[in-house]
Amino acid sequence: MSIPADRSPLEEQIAQWLAYLRRRRAFHGPDVEELEGHLRDQIAVLTEAGLTGDEAFLVAVKRMGSLDELSREFAREHSERLWKQLVIAPHATDQTGTATRKEFIVVLCLAIAAGVAIKVPALFGLRLSPDDEVPIFYFRNASLFVFPLLAIYFVWKRGLGVASGLWLALPFAAGAVFANVYPFRTAGDTEVLTILHLPIALWIAVGFAYVRGRWFADGGRMNFVRFSGELVIYYVLIALGGGVLTGFTVLMFAAIEMKADWFVGGWLIPCGAAGAVIIASWLVEAKQSVIENMAPVLTRLFTPLFTVLLLAFLATMVWTGNPINVERDVLISFDLLLVLVVGLVLYAASARDPQAPPDFFDGLQLLLVTSALVVDAVALAAIAARISEFGFTPNRTAALGENLILLVNLAWSAWLYARFVRGRGSFAALERWQIAYLPVYSVWAALVVAIFPSVFGYR
């Protein structure tokens, strides 16, 4: 349907009516065309009968029925349309169709490349097989198999220049060096710390590609935060499907007396896990405007529950007087809890309209942040006591640093939240703070990877 540049008032009115129609989800393209044809036939007959264009339009629209009723009828007949569908390959003929197909091919190639990359070390004797333990090399380098390819995807998708692309290669190269040149004692504390921190440090490099290398421009960082949350959710969903596939692979081959373990453990799981990161990223990119974001929904669901958990924990601790037992697992779980709280705050902020006035949920968030702050302070005191008694170890130092970083974030967030809830500040300030703080996590993680092993003698 082509619309001439200078439209008559009648054409203008028809176009407007069609625009109203298209905005309703119950109508699809062909329906709109069909109804447009009807409207034009009716108008033609009415003008022939002597009505002016304006009058004919009014009568024709009136006879068509109210849009509300019409869309209700269409929705009843086409109820499937009320479910938003993720259509990845639209009309194959038009421009966007070829672009979508091209993107799919690039994504497929990158996903296969990720799957191949994870098998390359096998050529050098580091085999993945279900009978042996997985060589720790794979854990140290886990992020390096996939993140560079993910960065390449965004460099391609965002049209970044070759020069910026090469700059982006630097952090990955540095990560590869730090993960592999240090003479770690096998499965020592510093090696485990490297395994845990390298992905956090490198994720920001992916983020840099995601925002087209313009870290400080127009909301790109918040979009990257949203992307990260959705990516985790999609990855988990794909992993669930992958688990079912794996189960059936083993079962069906077992039925004909074949052992599929070598394939499942050596190929299906590692290659699938690597490729799925790329596929999940692409899905998040493709569906971002089609399907509701899931991370904020989970945030709404779990903020009250975690608030209750933290308050119950604090109350129990005060009541019984039991101190926190500073074991490694405990420290890690506390850090994770605080990371989770920061995540809840971050994703609540990502989905919130900064202009809206404070509501009940904001009060709840403030309560969550405050109780997390108290828990963090208690954990920090326990770690500090442990350190002053037994000295610094890699784990305690890393936990101390992470707790401090989260403490600073939560403290300032609590302050900004309190100001906002009392109507003295804007929500945008809180959002800005959360976003500005993002690189701190990566910088700390990079420090842990780069400095800790040598400082602590590769223990």
Binding site: L35, H38, R63, E77
Partner: protein, 112 residues
């Protein structure tokens, strides 16, 4: 005279099928034919015809095809299918029963 909504909805299926049994047609022409047949008494909200047509298509009673119309724009033509014809016959029998029943009681009323 305005018919009730339920009656309009109930009569829509046999009417549309019967009109299509006369020959292939499209939305606007079907509406015009309904008005003409009823002498202007039966009045549909134009837009409501389309969900009915789409339902009949989903049920396999009619089939549709996009063709160019005489004014050059595309138009969706509907054609009754074999299943549509048997549906029409069934509907006709049902309406006949309703019609006969009402007729007999109203005839009694008049003669009483």
């Amino acid at each position: 005279m305005d018919l009730t909504k339920d009656l309009v909805a109930a009569s829509a299926t046999p009417l549309v099928l019967a009109i299509l049994a006369e020959g292939d047609s499209y939305g606007y022409a079907i509406i015009k034919r309904v008005t003409q047949l009823s002498g202007g008494h039966l009045h549909w909200t134009d837009g409501m015809l389309y969900p009915v047509l789409h339902r009949l298509e989903r049920q396999g009673h009619v089939a549709s095809k996009w063709c160019a119309s005489e004014n050059g724009r595309k138009r969706k033509y509907y054609r009754i299918t074999r299943a549509g014809r048997s549906q029409l016959a069934a509907q006709r029998r049902q309406w006949q029963v309703v019609d006969d029943t009402l007729r007999s009681i109203w005839v009694q009323e008049c003669t009483a």
